[in-house]
Symmetry: C2
Subunit: 219 residues, 2 copies
DNA sequence: GCTACTCCTTGACAGTCGTCAAGTTTTTCT
DNA sequence: AGAAAAACTTGACGACTGTCAAGGAGTAGC
């Protein structure tokens, strides 16, 4: 059996590909690792106070490595924002999938809503920070709009399913539905950080009624 | 007619008071002037990118003067935030006062809502920026909460008056009512800066229905 | 074992930041 | 007019920023 030049080059190129791919994988893995460290630093300090050296201190590397894996600071932060999206955008899907009654769906949504408020509060304040930064600096805007759209879809899946289980229809558009619940979340977050747990509890108590306001029940 | 010592000291002290008051007035006037310059700089650049030298360039003074009138940067920005409140918190009162029918009130509110969105967009993005900063830096929080409360009251005056004219009652608490309309404003602002005027127009078209959703009409 | 390459550290750069002291200009009062 | 006080400018300080070049450490290939 002869070995043609094609075979050799094919094998060689395949080998090279595999090598290259493995290198790319390693490269991407470290990029992601550093982006996660960036995300945590941002969540702790906010956009305005986050420096590259501080980010590096939250990783196991020195500050110079950031310019080996990222073009510049904007590139790094953009990648961190994308990491946020991965974490945050499928949060309620399980609730939607497993709930069999409207009451259950609504109750579990409210529970999850305030659970993540307490557990991931720093991450959430970062999201709002970055969304606002996009009002000043257009370079984040595309990513922000994309994530915002995914958040809207996520909320819509919950509310439209709730309406379905209730035998009714949503009372407002996806956009309006989203901003209403997002507004409540933002306010709850503010009072959470203020330490004003009474206001948070009140928002929690009112949330079911607000959800009902967003769907038109069947007659 | 004799001139008693009391008279003299009284006159003298009154004169001194007047002098002191005038000096305080001058001092406060310049403080306010610099706070306004700060407000405009912040609205243009955002909190993260605003420096004292940039602020001074937006005034007619040099950067050193800022430490003559303000303790430090935080003091200056806090004062600027308070200036924002003065500008922004009575915006809809005239609409409430002059409207005689529910339709008129709703229509004029919507008009004013999107008018200030377009006209004062930089100032509004600053407000949301600073409100978010207060999630990271507690030193603004008290002022932010106060302003947020005034904004809530402002919205509540509109919606409760609308319900009254309609012969109904508000369907949600002041807090929920506020965050709903504020959420819509935030979203409209984001798409305004994106240049996505279609989405803004859609939000405008939907706003009357949302307002109706927030009041329970009489049977 | 030598070379070549990837990965990472170190240290320096030019610039900007908030702050403040020293000094100049302007105003105020007698 | 002259002295005192207020108002403002200037320049400098140490610290911090993003960026990057030089070089070390470690590994894979021959």
């Amino acid at each position: 059996m002869g070995v043609t030049i094609q075979d050799v080059t094919e094998v060689a190129s395949r080998k090279q590909d595999r090598l290259a791919r493995r290198q790319v994988d390693k490269f991407d893995a470290r990029r992601t690792e550093l982006a996660v460290a960036t995300l945590h630093t941002l969540a702790e300090l906010g956009y305005a106070r986050t420096s590259l050296r501080e980010i590096a201190q939250n990783s196991e590397f020195s500050h110079g490595v950031l310019h080996y894996y990222f073009e510049d600071k904007r590139d790094l932060i953009t990648e961190a924002v994308r990491q946020y999206e991965v974490v945050c955008v499928t949060r309620y899907d399980e609730v939607v999938a497993t709930s069999t009654t409207a009451e259950q769906l609504r109750a579990e949504f409210v529970a999850m809503f305030f659970d993540t408020l307490g557990r991931d509060a720093p991450l959430h304040r970062l999201w709002y920070d970055l969304r606002n930064q996009s009002l000043f600096d257009g370079s984040f805007r595309a990513d922000v709009l994309e994530i915002d759209g995914h958040r809207q879809d996520m909320v819509w899946r919950v509310v439209s399913r709730y309406a379905e289980l209730l035998g009714g229809t949503p009372a407002a558009s996806p956009g309006t539905t989203y901003v209403t619940l997002d507004g409540i979340f933002q306010r709850a977050l503010l009072h959470h950080f203020t330490g004003n747990s009474g206001t948070v509890a009140q928002l929690r108590a009112e949330l079911p009624a607000v959800i009902d306001l967003l769907v038109t029940k069947a007659e």
